[in-house]
């Protein structure tokens, strides 16, 4: 009985307290002074500066963990991740309003497949709410991703995508990092002009967007420089038997081969040229010889050249930027390479540098915009004219070619043997940054 009474009394007390507590709030909000009073009396809290607001920006991209673009794509992503980790570990980007910006990446395996790319970029934008996008690796996959980015009004930094066309179709949110495909082999042709102006050139290339775009720029330039093109041949991406093509090449009387496409076909082509003793004086292939896996071909790699977006041995410097009168931004090439080697024990290739610089550009644009607002960042990208270890970065802002890279330049690299007989990639052009003379003609197998 006594216990029942106590229970009822307790319930009544709780109900009374609830009514007391709720009554004034429901009818009249407490005066501001009442809520501020404790702060006024607690001196330590009042003098402590407000904690900076930390924003986390989501960057979305796909990578080719499987499929034909795997080798280069993984390197690009490794470079990007290095940049992101460095920025986050340094506390993020400080904005003028006191807030800091950190980055988180959302990424999926696109299987080197265009359909997967479109599906996944849609997911990145609509479900993962990515604030900014980085392109997948390769021009073909980037063209597919760019449609989704543009439809959704997202900014996409296109790393690893040199083909020109995507920037000439009215897109306004794409910003290209690489030297455009149409200018890819210009340095190589300039070098050939000094080495052997009488060279007979064969162009044998992969039938994909990137390589075709390179050839479209190469052909008129070769002709304007007085070179004779004795063969032009495309091959399918999945080609493994280059025997018939090499027979054609030899039959054409070519002395110089310019072409290739990506890693799998380029490395195969180089190996079979060596096995069949094609007897060429000079071989320049796209992409494949720029990869650190290329020397796995052994002697077949010797003398094979490539146009490279960046080489550590000829990395761009602050002095170069000062001489050009362009503001320098970011780490030195040596610091970048040391950080990458510390993280992976590998030397960085241009694909790694490209991935890193894609992040660096975004960082600079956010700093310049002092905001993460996409419109302000876009305006900052359009106004960008900087020099990094990777080279010049400036974008075309005309409606005809919006976002096309206009400042970055290529170097020519060639696999040569050092004194110890090991294959090393030397920079052979432009002459002012060359680390070795061109091996011309390449030694016969």
């Amino acid at each position: 009985m006594k216990r029942k009474f106590l229970n009822v009394l307790g319930l009544l007390l709780v109900a009374a307290m609830l009514l007391t507590a709720c009554g004034p709030a429901a009818t009249e909000p407490p005066p501001p002074a009442a809520t501020e009073a404790p702060a006024a009396t607690q001196a330590p809290v009042a003098t402590e500066p407000p904690a900076p607001v930390e924003k986390t920006i989501t960057i979305g991209f796909t990578s080719s963990l499987t499929g034909s673009q795997e080798v280069s794509s993984k390197r690009q992503v490794a470079g990007f991740n290095l940049w992101m980790n460095q920025v986050n570990e340094a506390g993020g980007i400080a904005l003028g309003d006191g807030s800091t910006v950190k980055f988180a990446a959302v990424t999926y395996d696109d299987e080197s497949n265009k359909e997967r790319v479109q599906e996944l970029y849609t997911r990145l934008v609509t479900e993962d709410n990515a604030d900014f996008l980085i392109s997948p690796y390769s021009s073909g996959l980037t063209a597919a991703a760019s449609i989704v980015a543009e439809q959704n009004g997202k900014i996409m930094i296109t790393a690893g995508a040199a083909e020109d066309d995507a920037y000439k179709t009215g897109n306004t949110g794409l910003f290209q990092l690489y030297t455009p495909g149409s200018l890819y082999l210009i340095s190589t042709v300039d070098m050939l002009k000094t080495l052997d102006p009488e060279a007979k050139v064969a162009i044998v290339h992969e039938n994909d967007k990137f390589s075709t775009s390179v050839v479209e720029g190469l052909k008129p330039y070769l002709e304007s420089q007085g070179f004779e093109i004795v063969l032009e041949e495309g091959y399918a991406t999945e080609t493994t038997d280059f025997g018939p093509v090499i027979n054609k090449l030899v039959d054409s009387g070519a002395t110089v081969l310019l072409g290739g496409g990506h890693y799998p076909d380029g490395s195969t082509f180089a190996r079979q040229l060596y096995e069949r003793k094609a007897g060429l004086k000079f071989i320049s292939l796209l992409v494949a010889p720029a990869d650190s896996k290329f020397p796995e071909l052994g002697d077949a790699a010797l003398g094979v050249s490539t146009s490279s977006q960046w080489e550590l041995k000829a990395t761009h410097t602050e002095e170069e930027a000062a001489a050009l009168g362009i503001p320098w931004y970011g780490p030195t090439g040596e610091d970048f390479a040391a950080a990458y080697e510390a993280a992976t024990t590998e030397k960085p290739t241009y694909h790694v540098a490209g991935g890193y610089t894609a992040g660096l550009i975004l960082q600079k644009a956010i700093e310049n915009a002092d905001s993460v607002d996409p419109e302000k960042v876009k305006a900052a990208l359009e106004a960008m004219d900087i020099f990094t270890f990777y080279g010049g970065i400036k974008f075309d802002t005309s409606p005809e070619a919006h976002g096309l890279q206009t400042s970055h330049q290529m170097v020519v690299a060639q696999w040569q043997k050092n004194d110890a007989g090991e294959l090393v990639r030397q920079v052979i052009w432009p002459a002012d940054v060359a680390t070795a003379d061109p091996l011309y003609p390449v030694p016969a197998p």
Partner: protein, 288 residues
């Protein structure tokens, strides 16, 4: 005249390659001929054969042609295992069931292979020399691969026509019910046939790896070629597959002399459709 020279230069390559294509297709067509199963795990098994050569030569330093023996044994045992685990239960079900069963095996091998080996291209840095024959360059690796393919074809022929298990296989292929009534252990014979088919696929992959790069996904294109060859030679006719392989190899050799290389698959698959329409039993006759 220039194109005729080019044709003569490319022809030996095409013929040599054709023998290896034929060997790969023989495995596919043997399985179809004996048990009416289209083995969609054929491509990944070719790829496993390629990796067999890689590990045996590049990692263990053993001559890749000596390495064909363990690759063949592995292919045979793997085929028997696939038959027992995935195919046997659906052998009498509609074709779609066995198609899906072997497709599942295909996906499992590719999935495990991708996890373990990535999809990066691998190379076997093996060189067997070469020599000039007129204007053509004959590579040692291709010549030896063609000879090995011929050896395996001869061996298969002898096995099927001169040995008791081979005769059992032909009996089961002809009429399984009648063969069972004669006391032939059809389940074991079917498992053996599947094993032989996968063995041929693995060996062809091991040979291809001596001259072409590969990845775990590389078998897909050879599987497609095997279908074309199977239809050319007659699905179910292993010896016809060798001739089908030769036809395809020669086409791959001579088409680029006249057209861009990218036309090769277009013409190959156009031929595939034409043969299906005009002579569905194949150029060399198929199992009735």
């Amino acid at each position: 005249m220039q194109q005729f020279n080019l044709l003569l230069t490319s022809l030996p390559d095409g013929i040599l390659l054709g023998f290896v294509y034929g060997l790969a297709a023989m495995g596919l067509t043997l399985i179809w001929g004996v048990m009416n199963v289209i083995n969609l795990s054929h491509g990944p098994i070719i790829a496993l054969g390629m990796f067999g050569t890689f590990f045996i030569f590049s990692r263990m330093g053993i001559n890749p042609y000596v390495g064909l023996i363990p690759v063949a044994v592995f292919g045979l045992l793997l085929g028997i295992l696939i038959y027992v685990v995935a195919v046997h239960r659906v052998i009498n079900a509609p074709h779609l069931s066995s198609l899906l069963a072997t497709f599942s095996v295909n996906m499992i091998i590719i999935g495990l292979g991708t996890a373990a080996l990535t999809t990066s291209p691998f190379n076997v840095d093996f060189n067997a020399g070469g020599f000039k024959l007129g204007s053509a360059t004959i590579l040692g690796t291709r010549l030896i691969a063609a000879l090995v393919a011929m050896l395996f074809t001869g061996g298969l022929y002898l096995f099927l026509y001169r040995t008791r298990p081979g005769k059992y296989i032909r009996a089961v292929a002809n009429n399984r019910a009648a063969a069972e009534l004669m006391g032939i252990p059809s389940t074991r014979i079917l498992a053996l046939s599947f094993g032989l088919g996968t063995m041929l696929a693995a060996v062809s992959g091991a040979l291809i790896a001596t001259f072409f790069p590969f990845s775990i996904l590389a078998g897909g294109s050879y599987e497609l070629k095997s279908f074309v060859i199977g239809v050319l030679g007659g699905l179910g006719n292993p010896i016809g597959a060798l001739f089908g392989g030769l036809v395809l190899g020669v086409l791959e050799g001579i088409i680029p002399a006249f057209l861009e290389t990218s036309w090769v698959p277009v013409i190959e698959f156009a031929l595939f459709v034409v043969i299906l329409l005009v002579r569905p039993s194949g150029l060399f006759g198929a199992k009735q």
